[in-house]
Amino acid sequence: MTSLFYIEHANGKVSDQSLKAITAASQIEGDVHGLIVGSNIDEAVAEASKINGLSKLLHLDDAAFDNVLAEKLTQVIFNIAGDYDYFLAAATTTGKNVMPRLAAKLDVSQISEIVAVESADTFIRTIYAGNAIATVQTSDAKKVLTVRPTAFKAATTDSAECEVAKINAENIPSISEFVGEELTKSDRPELTSAKTIISGGRGMQNGENFELLDKVAEKLGAAVGASRAAVDAGFVPNDYQVGQTGKVVAPELYIAVGISGAIQHLAGMKDSKIIVAINKDEEAPIFDVADYGLVADLFQVLPELEQAL
């Protein structure tokens, strides 16, 4: 049995999400090969070749892959699919975009966002926004899986360099083209890899008030998130969203401010180690999952908290 794991990278670094998800691949019997794709990626290739658990790294370095589109990347993986039994990637927006396209080309079902590997063909995943946990078994010979990164511990990148081989781009379709990217600029850590997160909800009242969260986040080295209600109300962009339809996070400390605790938000953060809720409504369901609750006006509490830290 051999698994192929698609490794994401940015700015010369292997993505933290991939390092976590690759641990799931290591739990499946057999070798794990990595695939890394991009343009001018020597640095990332060097780091990826030292990921613990990888026995071989394939890389495609081609200007046409400066931006990785699903139509092209799927073909790259499909070209070498004959050699592999398992295909895995982190359940990021890239993994979610590419892997089902690959599964259909291979004529197999995909198992999405697994949180545990039970055996060679049996996996655990959440359904209904995390309100139920399903154990599923696939009868497909080739298995395509995406992995929820927060459910696994990151692999280290201090092993001896594994075998590195170059592959070429063949039969790449040109039915889509990259136009541009607008990435949210922030000095804060990424939501999905942050150890501490402070999130605001509708209680923040407007986008300007998120500065109050920024100030506390600064002190804590935390990422700033938001509930779907705050995103829907236009306070902050969608990539702030924590929840089943946004990002699923599991930091050491999650501070929910002015968030009532809708099911869909809880689904995105309830695996956090410590949860703090700050809300003036003491009936808010968020208090049912919080380790520490503070019933108070957030506009008083946030400046105080900033001072106290």
Partner: protein
């Protein structure tokens, strides 16, 4: 141009779901059902494109048991023109749904297929991408903006770090994210009108698709419950507990 919109019937998003005591799944008997919220956004986007003169006809498709007709009627009441109902009692997996939709694409030749990015029951997030693969069409997943320009469609996508824009040759597949639009409510006159709109009934066999599941569900359980903790009096207390008791700051 035709737009094909697949719609799925799911447990209403505001219902608290209940895991069956025999661990075989989630209780769906006597539970309020609705159109999957991401599918509603897909229907709305198709209607807006038609209203803007970019499309002539919207076809809503649903695959499942008899009650999926209601979900198609909802799409028709919102503004879709006709429906296709593929009747089956089987729990159809995304790969089989994508195969049926691919066959429908063959006979209807839509310029766009707009689907939800995921259904809120299985949370698979697969069908649109699979359909794109089977039809060799490009895909604009997790769309927050859709602009048609000649024979191309420009799609702004919600990605982890922000937004990405891609240009796709049509025909293309688009899957919707939350911020694409706010779906309308069907008005009473439109609900009445929708009753007269045609729904074609088919079966997976008509499309030559075997819908036998490849993935079996061995067990469904409730997630471990988190216990509510304590209430603290003030910020000083909170910081002290986080430092000394929890050790997280």
């Amino acid at each position: 141009m035709k737009i094909l919109v697949p719609v799925k019937r799911v447990i209403d998003p505001y219902v608290n779901i209940r895991v069956k005591s025999d661990q075989t799944g989630v209780e769906t008997e006597n539970v309020k059902m609705s159109m999957n919220p991401f599918c509603e956004i897909a229907v709305e986007e198709a209607i807006r494109l038609k209203e803007a003169g970019k499309a002539e006809e919207i076809i809503a498709v649903s695959i499942g048991n008899q009650s999926c007709q209601e979900t198609i009627r909802t799409a028709l009441a919102m503004g879709a023109d006709r429906g296709i109902h593929v009747l089956t009692e089987e729990k159809v997996e995304p790969i089989s749904i994508a195969k049926i939709l691919a066959k429908i694409c063959e006979s209807e030749s839509p310029g766009l297929v707009i689907s939800g990015k995921q259904a809120i029951d299985g949370d698979n997030n697969q069908t649109g991408q699979m359909l794109a693969a089977l039809t060799d069409m490009p895909q604009g997943t997790f769309a927050s903006k859709v602009e048609i320009d000649g024979d191309k469609v420009k799609v702004t996508r919600e990605i982890d770090g922000g937004l990405q824009t891609v240009n796709l040759n049509m025909p293309a597949i688009i899957t919707t994210d939350l911020r694409l639009n706010e779906p309308r409510y069907a008005s009473l006159p439109n609900i009445m009108k929708a009753k007269k709109k045609p729904i074609d009934q088919k079966s997976p066999n008509d499309y030559g698709v075997d819908v036998t599941p490849r993935v079996s569900i061995l067990k469904v359980i409730e997630p471990p419950k988190r216990q509510a903790g304590i209430k603290v009096e003030n910020v000083g207390d909170l910081v002290e507990k986080l430092k000394n008791e929890a050790g997280v700051i």
